[in-house]
């Protein structure tokens, strides 16, 4: 019997993005393996965030952005007629941003926001349990359990980012996109997020953009190197960081670029 190769969780083929007349992403092919962390690295302006936003149609909210090519989730098209409904897509593919951006609401409501929007569970005991579980999985429960009515914006930066992760996982997404989630955090808060990513990998597929080579090396299984709107090299993280095949990749990760 032939060996069963698991279908990638998400794929992109010839994925391109224009901002007005500027071509920011030049036809990217990438397979994102389920249950893994994929790290996107590359110099500033190379299109990492643009690519990430394509995966849950966040570029739709940018007026001058135009997306072409294909992207799929579980084999189903994300764009075009017959594509997944964008609201549903964003429930299945959640996002955590660079700057922690909790809503100016109580911690509880921050986490309950998505489940309420999608009518996942009833208010009361069910919602309480859901909020608690999401905060536990985001390793924040013990720190906030007695202050769930406190404003989310009143937490520390690291706590806010974990709150945003709790908010993202509360709707049980399948994929979580993270755009430089630790860039505003100190080393301890960063380590906690990294530990969290490692745990979440069991239940979610994670794609993370990071400017820290060490972070990419620590948390991901697959690494893709972007440069000028293209993927130059993609491979097992261990291979990329010990013996990259491409000179540009090597120059970038060793700090010999330019």
């Amino acid at each position: 019997m032939a060996e069963q190769v698991a279908e990638p969780k998400m794929t992109t083929r010839g994925l391109a993005v224009h901002y007005g007349s500027k071509l920011a992403l030049k036809g990217v092919d990438l397979d994102i393996t389920g249950g893994e962390v994929t790290a996107l690295i590359g110099p500033s302006g190379c299109g990492k965030s643009t690519f990430l936003r394509c995966l849950n149609r966040m570029n739709d909210t940018i007026a001058e952005a135009r997306v072409s090519g294909r992207a799929t989730l579980d084999g189903q098209d994300i764009y075009g007629p017959g594509g997944i409904d964008p609201v549903l897509l964003r429930a299945r593919v959640g996002m955590v941003f660079q700057r922690p951006n909790p809503f100016p609401k109580p911690i509880y409501d921050n986490v309950a926001f998505g489940p309420r929007l999608h009518g996942l569970v009833a208010e009361g005991e069910e919602m309480d349990a859901l909020v608690r579980k999401a905060l536990e999985r985001a390793s924040l429960w013990n720190e906030v359990k007695d202050n769930l009515g406190q404003q989310g914006t009143g937490l520390s930066g690291g706590q806010q980012q974990r709150l945003c992760i709790a908010r993202a996982i509360a709707v049980e997404p399948e994929v979580i996109l993270m755009d430089e989630p630790c860039s505003a955090l100190d080393p301890i808060a960063t380590a906690r997020i990294e530990e969290l990513i490692d745990e979440l990998r069991e239940s979610f597929t994670i794609v993370i953009v990071t400017h820290s080579m060490q972070q990419a090396a620590r948390v991901s299984q697959t690494t893709a190197f972007f440069h000028l709107g293209e993927i130059i090299e993609v491979g097992a993280t261990e291979q990329i960081f010990t013996a990259p095949a491409n000179d540009l990749t090597q120059g970038y990760i060793t700090g010999r670029f330019g």
Binding site: P43, M213, L228, T242, A243, Q250, T254, R256, G258
Partner: protein, 239 residues
């Protein structure tokens, strides 16, 4: 931001990697000259020279300590990756191999002091030949490593077979002399140990060749070279 440069953006990183490379070059040069001097001491029965070789061994050890400290420093402060990482890891291991080579050379010099007090024996000529083969191999393999030359490293690695062959035949030769005249047994035993030292130097040079290859190409372990030193079986058959 398009081309990959030879130099790091942070210049002090280049300086630190350069220090490692320099220390390795000095260690390699020292080990080679220590071995050459040990051979010279054996050949000309020069006990003074042998004493110098023994005294100089400390220099190699000091350089190895420097390489140890420098690699730990670079690993901690720079978190090297890709070819930088391979260079640093290889430097640490190559320094260990060179230290062993120098140690074996010093030990050969030490045994020559005893030999110089005994009458000369014939197999010395073959022993010197073995030692020179080892010396050339050490020089070439260190050049290959410092010159990032993976092909040359593989060529040098294959030369270890020649050393093993010469060692096996020298072993037989020494046995013959010992059986011929019991008075030869003491000098021949020392010769035998020195021969083993030179054969081991070939093995360490082989290890360096593999590290040089890894450093350049990043491939994991090369296929193990099959050892054909049959001296372990000599004696169970008519010699």
């Amino acid at each position: 931001m398009t081309a990959t440069g030879e130099h790091h953006i942070v210049k002090s990183y280049d300086v630190e990697l350069g220090k490692l490379e320099d220390a390795l070059a000095r260690m390699g040069g020292l080990a080679e000259s220590q071995l050459a001097a040990a051979l010279q001491a054996l050949d000309s029965r020069d006990s003074d020279l042998a004493g110098k070789v023994m005294a100089n061994d400390g220099q190699v050890d000091a350089l190895q300590s420097f390489v140890d400290e420098q690699t730990v420093k670079v690993l901690a402060l720079r978190a090297p990756v890709a070819d930088d990482l391979r260079s640093v890891v290889a430097a640490l291991k190559v320094a260990g191999e060179i230290e062993r080579i120098a140690d074996l050379a010093a030990n050969a010099a030490k045994r020559s002091l005893v030999l110089n007090r005994l009458p000369p024996v014939e197999p010395m000529r073959s022993l010197l030949r073995l030692g020179r083969l080892a010396q050339v191999m050490v020089k070439d393999v260190i050049d290959a490593h410092l010159g990032h030359d993976a092909d040359k490293a593989l060529v040098v690695r294959d030369r270890d077979q020649e050393i093993d062959d010469v060692y096996s035949s020298l072993f037989r030769e020494i046995l013959t002399y010992m059986m011929e005249d019991p008075r030869n047994i003491t000098p021949c035993s020392h010769l035998m140990f020195i021969a083993k030292n030179f054969e081991r130097i070939g093995d360490h040079a082989t290890n360096i060749a593999e590290l040089a290859h890894f450093r350049v190409l990043g491939k994991a372990q090369l296929e193990a070279r099959t050892k054909k030193d049959d001296s372990a079986f000599i004696g169970g058959e008519p010699v």
